[in-house]
């Protein structure tokens, strides 16, 4: 048998596909979180710039242009030099330039110009190339200003961190997913191969093969134990079939041999009409017995397929049992046995009338044939809480433990010599009929005599 290669296995492909999905989602999340963080930072940046503008405007409203300029003056000089900017980058991060309408700098850094088009402006500074967010404002008709804020984080996020994280996720995640997929698949495949190997072994004839359990009780153990159970059941059915085949062969061989013998005798006695007739009659009786075995087997098969369930109807079991007991009473009389009838009224169930008749008939015949001499047999019908309970029993010695176990098996007979009447199918049929009706038949324990109890849901 060809083994499934790990890389070609379904589980591997699924694991890898799932990992890819996770990576894609992770990348998406990184970008989303980055985007949200930047929005947040931008908001704060705006707020700082707005606050600075508002402060400057307040000073202008209260103290005029000089007050506004004082606010941003550093030292005595109106203009900030390049070093101030370096200090600003480290500390406040705010850069200011206020100009008159001739564009002369009144206070602040001359290298700062607003730029309406771009998000970012860059200072005209010899060493710095950091970006800033800038906003312009007016101070009456005397001056206008620009306030800007260093924004290194934004560049950091968009330009560097996000692609880096994406590469990292893909570079680390992809091989990782392949490795995890491979290991996971190999583990799962090993379990599946074990099951598959067992099935293959059974197919190739090693019927005793069973899947080895890991003892963890996981889903593979469960599957394995179900499969083992199924194999056990199949093996048991197979043994049953073998037993039945042997039973059929044995039960058919003897009467057929007898018929052959009688045919031979007929040939010898062709001139003796009376003797020939006697042989024919005997042969017919053997054939009759044979046909009965076949009828019983066919009937059993029919019942066990459950096909008869389609014809279920309401059956008045009380009347059925009473009629049946009345019919069989003379047979018990003739056998010098007695039949005690205790049938409750109004007991009914859903079922197959004909089969229920046959069930009771088989139990009564069984009682006639297998009870002791002068036995007292009883038939009892009662309505239990949710079941119809039918009992047929005698006051004999009961059933030996050996027979008890195999009583309902096909072709089982208490008398192994096969001299007693019957074909060993009667009780099998009783069981099959009871089961067809969703019930069961048991041989009660701890009773005097053999008592069969049939329980069928009402």
């Amino acid at each position: 048998m060809t083994r499934t290669r790990v890389l070609a296995s379904n589980i591997f492909r699924r694991t890898v596909a799932a990992s890819m999905g996770y990576i894609a989602v992770a990348v998406g999340l990184v970008w989303l979180i980055g985007f949200i963080a930047i929005l947040q930072i931008e908001g704060e940046e705006w707020a700082r710039i707005e606050a600075e503008i508002a402060e400057t405007e307040d000073a202008f409203q209260e103290g005029g242009i000089e007050a506004a300029l004082d606010l941003h003056r550093i030292g005595d000089a109106a203009e900030w030099d390049d070093d101030v900017i370096l200090a600003r980058l480290e500390e406040e991060q705010i850069v200011v330039a206020i100009r008159n309408f001739d564009d002369d700098v009144l206070v602040g850094y001359p290298g700062l110009w607003p730029d309406d088009a771009a998000e970012l402006v860059y200072l005209d500074h010899p060493t710095l190339d950091e970006g800033l967010r800038a906003e312009a404002f007016g101070l009456g008709d005397e001056a206008w200003g620009t306030i800007a804020l260093f924004v290194p984080e934004r560049e950091y996020y968009w330009g560097w961190l996000m692609p880096q994280m994406t590469y990292a996720l893909i570079l680390v995640g992809l091989p990782l997913s392949l490795i995890i997929g491979f290991l996971l698949s190999r583990g799962v495949l090993a379990r599946i191969e074990a099951i598959s190997d067992t099935a293959g072994a059974v197919v190739s004839g090693r019927m005793q093969s069973r899947v080895e359990l890991q003892g963890t009780g996981d889903e593979f153990d469960r599957l394995s134990s179900e499969i083992n159970g199924m194999l056990d059941k199949l093996a048991q059915l197979n043994r049953n079939i073998e037993a039945v085949s042997v039973g059929v062969a044995h039960d058919l061989k003897t009467p057929l041999a007898n018929v052959a013998g009688r045919l031979d005798l007929i040939r010898r006695d062709l001139n003796d009409s009376d003797a020939a007739h006697a042989h024919i009659e005997k042969a017919e009786r053997y054939l009759d017995g044979l046909l009965r075995v076949f009828d019983a087997l066919l009937r059993l098969g029919e019942v066990e397929t459950g096909r008869r369930r389609a014809g279920f109807g309401q059956v008045d079991v009380s009347t059925l049992a009473q009629d049946m007991a009345d019919s069989f009473a003379p047979l018990f009389d003739d056998a010098q046995k007695s039949l005690d009838v205790r049938v409750a009224k109004g007991v009914a169930t859903t079922g197959d009338r004909e089969l229920l008749q046959q069930l009771l008939s088989n139990l009564l015949e069984n009682a006639i044939e297998h009870s002791r001499d002068a036995a007292r047999v009883f038939v009892e019908l009662e309505q239990a809480r949710d079941a119809v309970v039918l009992r047929v029993g005698d006051d004999g010695p009961g059933v030996s433990p050996i027979d008890r176990a195999r009583l309902f098996d096909r072709f089982h007979r208490g008398d192994q010599s096969r001299n007693t009447p019957g074909n060993g199918l009667g009780l099998s049929l009783v069981k099959a009929i009871a089961e067809l009706h969703g019930g069961d038949v048991t041989l009660l324990e701890g009773t005097t005599g053999a008592v069969f109890e049939v329980k069928i849901p009402a």
Binding site: E302, R308, G311, D323, G426
Partner: protein, 225 residues
């Protein structure tokens, strides 16, 4: 009596032809339904014996065709299957009786006689008479001469059925169906036991026996006087 047999299996065909001819009947045999249907258009038969399973057109289809064409001749279906569904299906298709193979020739003959004689409309009669035997079906009581027979309900029903078929053989399985309503064959001597009890009451006290055992097939009641 004209009997039409449609049966594909050679062995059964030979067995039927010989047996039914020996019963004194005119037997026409076909191994498939088509010529039989032609025959049915040409002349009248008293009973048709039809195998259920045949290659080509099966017995059930042939039966439906016949009934569709207005042929009312009684039909007995022969079948290898004993399932109840099969029987119901057969009877619903217009068969008058149903016999499971293998069967005894005497069983078939008894059923042919019973069916060919069956009137179109079965009238419920209130009494039956056979010589000195009188059955009052309303009171469910039987008398032979002036003596009222003390019969159990089963014995009464047994007597009623065989008197209905007086002069004909009634087989064990026919009695199981008609008296007990059993479609299976109990292996005990149910029929024999009840029959011997009936005979003990009907025949033993009198000089002449009304019920005869027909060896290997069944029972027959007749007027001995």
């Amino acid at each position: 009596m004209q009997v039409l047999v449609v049966e594909d299996e050679a062995e059964t065909r030979e067995f039927l032809t010989r047996g039914l001819s020996e019963a004194g009947w005119d037997v026409t045999v076909h191994d498939n339904p088509q010529p039989a249907l032609l025959d049915l258009g040409a002349r009248r038969f008293d009973v048709i014996i039809l195998d259920r399973m045949m290659p080509g057109m099966d017995g059930l289809s042939a039966l439906k065709l016949m009934r569709g064409a207005g042929v009312t001749t009684p039909v007995i279906l022969l079948t290898a299957m004993s399932g109840i569904d099969d029987r119901v299906e057969g009877l619903e298709s217009g068969a008058d009786d149903y016999l499971v193979k293998p069967f005894a020739l005497s069983e078939l003959i008894a059923r042919i006689k019973s069916i060919a004689r069956r009137p179109e409309i079965v009238e419920e009669v209130n009494e039956r008479r056979l010589g000195s035997l009188h059955i009052d079906r309303l009171a469910r009581q039987a008398r032979r001469g002036d003596v009222v027979l003390d019969l159990s309900p089963i014995e009464y029903k047994l007597l009623d059925v065989i008197v209905e078929h007086a002069g004909e053989v009634v087989t064990r399985s026919m009695l199981l169906e008609k008296v007990w309503g059993y479609r299976f064959d109990p292996k005990t001597s149910l029929v024999q036991t009840h029959m011997s009890r009936l005979r003990a009451k009907l025949d033993k006290p009198f000089d002449t026996e009304m019920i005869r055992t027909v060896h290997g097939s069944g029972y027959m009641i007749h007027d001995p006087d």
